[in-house]
């Protein structure tokens, strides 16, 4: 069995929002809907004030509340653990968002494109993938996974802060990272068994050869 996992290195991430727009370029998500976001937070007082950046996206939980809550069965968990939305079945109750502790799914209610009513050719090509009134969220770029390519956000990330791999395979890049780095899972106490791991702290590898 494979289970796709995702790692986000909070130390490497520089908050440049490249993953957010890379996801939009790949999937053409409509206005006001971001399948991936980098959340900012400010803590502390001057001069020790500090800003932090936290990328968030669907955690493709092993025990997904969205799949349980959805009355139509639109939310489906693939064999590799990726949770996708079958838009031809969804009726837009948004029970998925109510059940999701990470506030991930969104609903595409139509409305105008990024330049007003008339859609650009790019938008026409991309919006045809979405059915109006249905829920949509990060689907781990499964079309890319099936081609053996990385998700768009992982590929674009300038800081190499994002990584992915099969959690069931001890040799996968993600498991190697998890062995080396301190990490935690988002809101583990809620029992959703998320497949996203946040890496923290410095790796502390050996200083490069010095004579």
């Amino acid at each position: 069995m494979t289970r796709m996992g995702f790692s986000i290195d909070l130390e490497r991430c520089v908050g440049c929002q490249a993953c957010v727009i890379a996801c939009k370029t790949e999937n053409g998500t409509p206005r006001n809907i971001h399948w991936m976001r980098v959340l900012e937070k400010e803590e502390g007082a001057f001069p020790d004030a500090r800003r932090s950046f936290t990328p968030v996206r669907c955690n493709h939980c092993a025990n997904p509340p969205c799949v349980a809550a959805c009355p139509t069965g639109a939310f489906v968990q693939r064999a590799d653990g990726v949770v996708v939305v079958n838009e031809s079945v969804c009726v837009g109750t948004m029970a998925c968002l109510t059940a999701c502790p990470y506030y991930v799914p969104a609903r595409y209610d139509g409305g105008d494109g990024y330049f007003g009513k008339k859609l650009t050719m790019y938008e026409e090509a991309k919006y045809s993938n979405f059915r109006e009134g249905t829920a949509q969220k990060c689907h781990f770029c499964y079309p890319r996974l099936d081609e053996g390519r990385p998700p768009a956000c992982v590929e674009a990330c300038p800081a190499d802060a994002l990584n992915y791999g099969d959690l069931d395979d001890p040799e996968s890049p993600i498991n190697i990272e998890l062995q080396r780095r301190r990490h935690f899972r988002p809101r583990e106490e809620l029992g959703t068994d998320p497949s996203t791991y946040y890496l923290v702290g410095k790796g502390g590898g050996p200083a490069v050869g010095v004579s």
């Binding site: 130390e11 370029t25 400010e42 590898g205």
Partner: protein
């Protein structure tokens, strides 16, 4: 011929990126080209379906970005499909020009437009070529073809940058100290980085998409310490181990304080490097000039072994004296290094604290940590070659360069790198295009007084050393009154107000500019720039969208977007990496109907003006064309044909334009000497700018004759801290805070906000259109987070939202990105945020007498504004 390398084998990717390359993708058509959403120019693969762009991903074959892309690049699609895109030539019918004045465009044919341009060009060339002013940006090929006019008709005015601070000291100082063009940090080995007024490795700067991952690896895997010295708690400060908030315009004091601790307190400096490879040992007389050998006129050093003075190129020169005082030729002289030590001794950390607000104890600790981390004397073996190992770097750019005394702020900081000898060596401060071995050889060489001069390939500038004797100006940019500056076009609007005052008998009558927002981002007080544009008879603009600058054009010509353009560009290499590369930009989709290739438009103009043959002759040189690929006179070439000749001239017949269109990038291996040229360069690096003495005096004489009174205190061979005007205003309480511009990683240039995806991000991230104001200052003014406020400076006033935060210096207001647009062609950007430049006073008093850089300290007062959004 070198060994060619598949790009992806250059630097192993930490994340496997299979299948993204064009050659591996089976059915899809991924066109390899270059992204132009900023000047970094990353290589990308553009997915085209049914003639439409549907995706853009990074090209893993490119060492420049290794398959990565930033938010700006990824949003490029929305610029390409921008609804307000121009596709017809336009002519202005409203003679009145000004801010928010409707030009009342009328569509005209290409012929009408080209005829009008040709007619004015003929008139200007016949009367006085100096009446022609060229402004090019981003597209290097078009910049070369339009710039050909400078070499053909003789206009001295070819502005190739936009911002009023850009390239003002960064390039000059890189030429002086590294022989290269712009700086990078060798993150592979660096263990201690201080970013002063820059976000190198985190949020900005050239080479973003390889600098950020390498910096992240250094920070996280090797524990590199990152210290950020910046008034704004920006993205870099957020990732830093230590953020040192500093008052704007005090960078020199910080640099001099670091130097004092290193040279006088901790006595940590690379004596051997200073003696062998800099002018630290050159003896200086009481008049500040070198003591020279009477016969050879070469500067003298004091040989401690023989106890006598010898010239720098004397083979028998032994141990060089760096400190102390000596008697040579009957006068008391000191080594330049001794003078530097005495100068920095005037800046103990306690004094620096009073100026910069950085605690003395903290400065002293950071300086010592930096010095110890330099591991002076250590070496490292790379590819079998033993090299000096100085894993530290003090990186600086935009911040310190944007002040009235830009030279001294930046020179003081650069000397911190020079005294520990970390230039162009593993772990240190490197510079692009320093040493090139193939296809043409370009290495720094030994010039006057044994000092280094950059190789031809990178030497695109007038150099600060030896500099040019001052003369009465014959140009509106007063280039002759800036003997050591690289370029001085920042003065043109100021001088154009009253050319006679400078003895000039011409003014600009024709201006041709490419897409770039020169008015909103080019100078300072926008009104001064607009007045200058209004005085020009014919302003011609190439545009993708009608921005603020185009609203003052007389003729606007539609220009292809970067996804519709071709460019050969030039070779490049990432500092410290074992490969160099040449990547091209190619057209991925058909141009929008009605839009023509700008180079071919200019060929029409040249042909009708009867100068096409001369242009081809010049382009043969500029594009380095070789027989049999030279452009012959009497013929007419398309841009594609020229590109093929360029490619074959530089790389040989088998690497023509078709090869590059298929592969997108050519990558080849290069040796250790080119990667870390530091100790292979023979010329010396200055720590003492002796030529400033002569250049200053000569300038004083010329200014005296012209009856101009400029304060020439900056012509000092040693760095010093001189306050900006706003420093005094703040101390006297005349202003509430100093406005500082800083960059966000997801915005670049004015075209960012007109992009709906970026605009959407800016609406959701308050610091984008809002301004940062410290909680303490906001409290004094009764301002809460999100309130609407009035920001006022002597030349501008703007109403915008406050983002009350702890992440900014209490006496500073942080203004991000490039907002505050008013142009009709940018509906998305209108009325959001403030145009930073419009708050900056402009004029001779606000520009550096050495480099002509514009002072970017905005003297601001702030108060709450009643009412909701405008």
């Amino acid at each position: 011929m070198p060994t060619f390398v598949r790009g992806r084998d250059t630097k192993e990717q930490t994340v496997e990126r299979p299948g993204a390359g064009r050659r591996d993708a089976t059915d899809s058509d991924w066109v390899p080209t270059t992204c132009r959403m900023c000047l970094v120019a990353c290589q990308v693969l553009v997915r085209v379906e049914a003639g439409q762009v549907v995706n853009v991903i990074g090209n893993p074959d490119s060492p420049n970005n290794r398959g990565r892309m930033c938010a700006k690049g990824k949003s490029g699609i929305m610029n390409h499909y921008n609804r307000s895109r121009l596709t017809r030539p336009l002519r202005r019918t409203n003679p009145e020009k000004g801010i928010k004045v409707d030009p009342r465009w009328e569509e005209i044919s290409w012929d009408e437009a080209i005829d009008a341009i040709t007619a004015k060009l003929r008139q200007v060339v016949e009367e006085d070529p100096r009446k022609l002013y060229l402004q090019t940006w981003a597209d290097q090929d078009f910049a070369a073809w339009l710039g050909a006019l400078a070499s053909v008709v003789g206009t001295p005015y070819h502005q190739t940058g936009i911002s009023g601070t850009c390239g003002k000291t960064i390039h000059s100082i890189n030429y002086l100290t590294t022989g290269g063009w712009w700086d990078e940090v060798d993150f592979e080995y660096c263990n201690y980085l201080i970013d002063v007024g820059t976000q190198q490795g985190i949020a900005t700067r050239e080479g973003f998409n390889h600098a950020v991952p390498d910096c992240a690896t250094a920070r996280v895997e090797r524990g590199m310490k990152l210290v950020v010295v910046d008034p704004v708690g920006n993205n870099a400060a957020a990732k830093a181990d230590e953020w040192l908030p500093i008052l704007p315009g005090t960078d020199a004091a910080f640099g001099l304080g670091m130097l004092h601790v290193l040279l006088n307190e901790a006595r940590i400096f690379d004596a051997e490097f200073l003696a062998q490879r800099t002018n630290a040992g050159y003896l200086v007389g009481s008049d500040g000039r070198y003591v020279r050998d009477p016969a050879s006129r070469q500067p003298l050093l004091f040989d401690l072994d023989s106890g006598t003075a010898k010239t720098h190129d004397d083979a028998s020169l032994g141990a060089v004296a760096l400190e102390g005082e000596f008697e040579v030729g009957g006068q008391l002289v000191k080594p330049a290094f001794q003078l530097l030590k005495e100068r920095v001794a005037e800046y103990p950390p306690e004094f620096v604290e009073a100026i910069t607000t950085i605690p003395a104890s903290r400065l002293r600790r950071i300086a010592r940590e930096f010095g110890e981390a330099a591991q002076i004397g250590a070496t490292i073996t790379i590819d079998g070659v033993e090299l000096p190992y100085r894993p530290v770097c003090l990186n600086w750019c935009r911040g310190p360069q944007g002040h009235k005394h830009a030279w001294h702020h930046t020179w003081a900081l650069q000397l911190v790198n020079v005294v520990v000898g970390c230039i162009n060596v593993p772990g240190g401060y490197q510079s692009r295009a320093t040493a090139i071995g193939w296809p043409d050889v370009s290495w720094p060489a030994v010039g006057q007084d044994g000092m280094m001069v950059p190789g031809a390939h990178s030497g695109k500038h007038a150099l600060a050393f030896p500099g040019r004797p001052a003369n009465r100006p014959g140009r509106l940019d007063l280039f002759e009154l800036f003997p050591v500056a690289a370029h001085t076009r920042t003065f043109v609007p100021e001088v154009s107000k009253d050319p006679e005052m400078y003895g000039l008998d011409h003014r600009i009558e024709m201006l041709i500019h490419t897409a770039g927002n020169q008015i909103a981002g080019g100078w300072a007080d926008v009104n001064a720039v607009v007045d200058w544009y209004k005085s020009i008879d014919l302003v011609v603009g190439f545009a993708v969208e009608i921005n603020e600058t185009h609203e003052l054009d007389d003729i606007v010509l539609p220009m292809p977007t970067y996804l519709e353009s071709n460019a050969f560009d030039s070779q490049d290499a990432v500092c410290g990496e074992g490969v160099a590369f040449h990547a091209i930009q190619q057209q991925t989709v058909e141009r929008a109907p009605g839009v023509r290739e700008p180079i071919e438009v200019m060929m029409d103009v040249y042909e009708r003006a009867g100068i096409l043959d001369e242009v081809y002759l010049v382009m043969n040189r500029v594009l380095k064309l070789k027989p049999p690929y030279l452009l012959e006179t009497g013929r007419r070439y398309t841009h594609q044909e020229v590109l093929d000749r360029q490619a074959k001239s530089v790389y040989g017949p088998e690497f023509g334009w078709e090869w590059f269109k298929e592969h997108g990038i050519l990558v080849w291996a290069r040796g250790v000497a080119e990667r870390y040229p530091g100790r292979f360069i023979k010329g010396r690096i200055p720590i003492y700018m002796e030529n400033f003495v002569d250049r200053g005096e000569e300038l004083g004489v010329v200014l005296g004759d012209m009856g101009l009174t400029w304060d020439l205190v900056d012509y000092d061979p040693l760095p010093q801290w001189i306050a900006c005007e706003s420093y005094g205003q703040l101390e006297r309480g005349e202003i509430d805070a100093i406005g500082v511009h800083y960059k966000l990683p997801y915005i670049y240039g004015g075209q960012g906000n007109a992009n709906p995806w970026i605009d959407e991000l800016c609406e959701k991230l308050p610091q984008s259109y809002g301004v940062l104001i410290n909680t303490r200052l906001a409290g004094q003014k009764g301002i809460k987070d999100g309130d609407w406020i009035w920001l006022e400076s002597p030349v501008g006033k703007s109403r915008l939202r406050a983002h009350v935060t702890e992440c900014v210096h209490p006496q500073v207001i942080g203004i991000a990105g490039h907002a505050g647009h008013w142009a009709g062609g940018k509906p998305l950007s209108r009325g959001k945020g403030v145009n930073f430049n419009s708050l900056l006073p402009y004029g001779t008093a606000h520009m550096d007498t050495i480099s002509s850089s514009i002072d970017m300290c905005a003297p601001l007062t702030v108060r709450r504004s009643v009412g909701g959004p405008p």
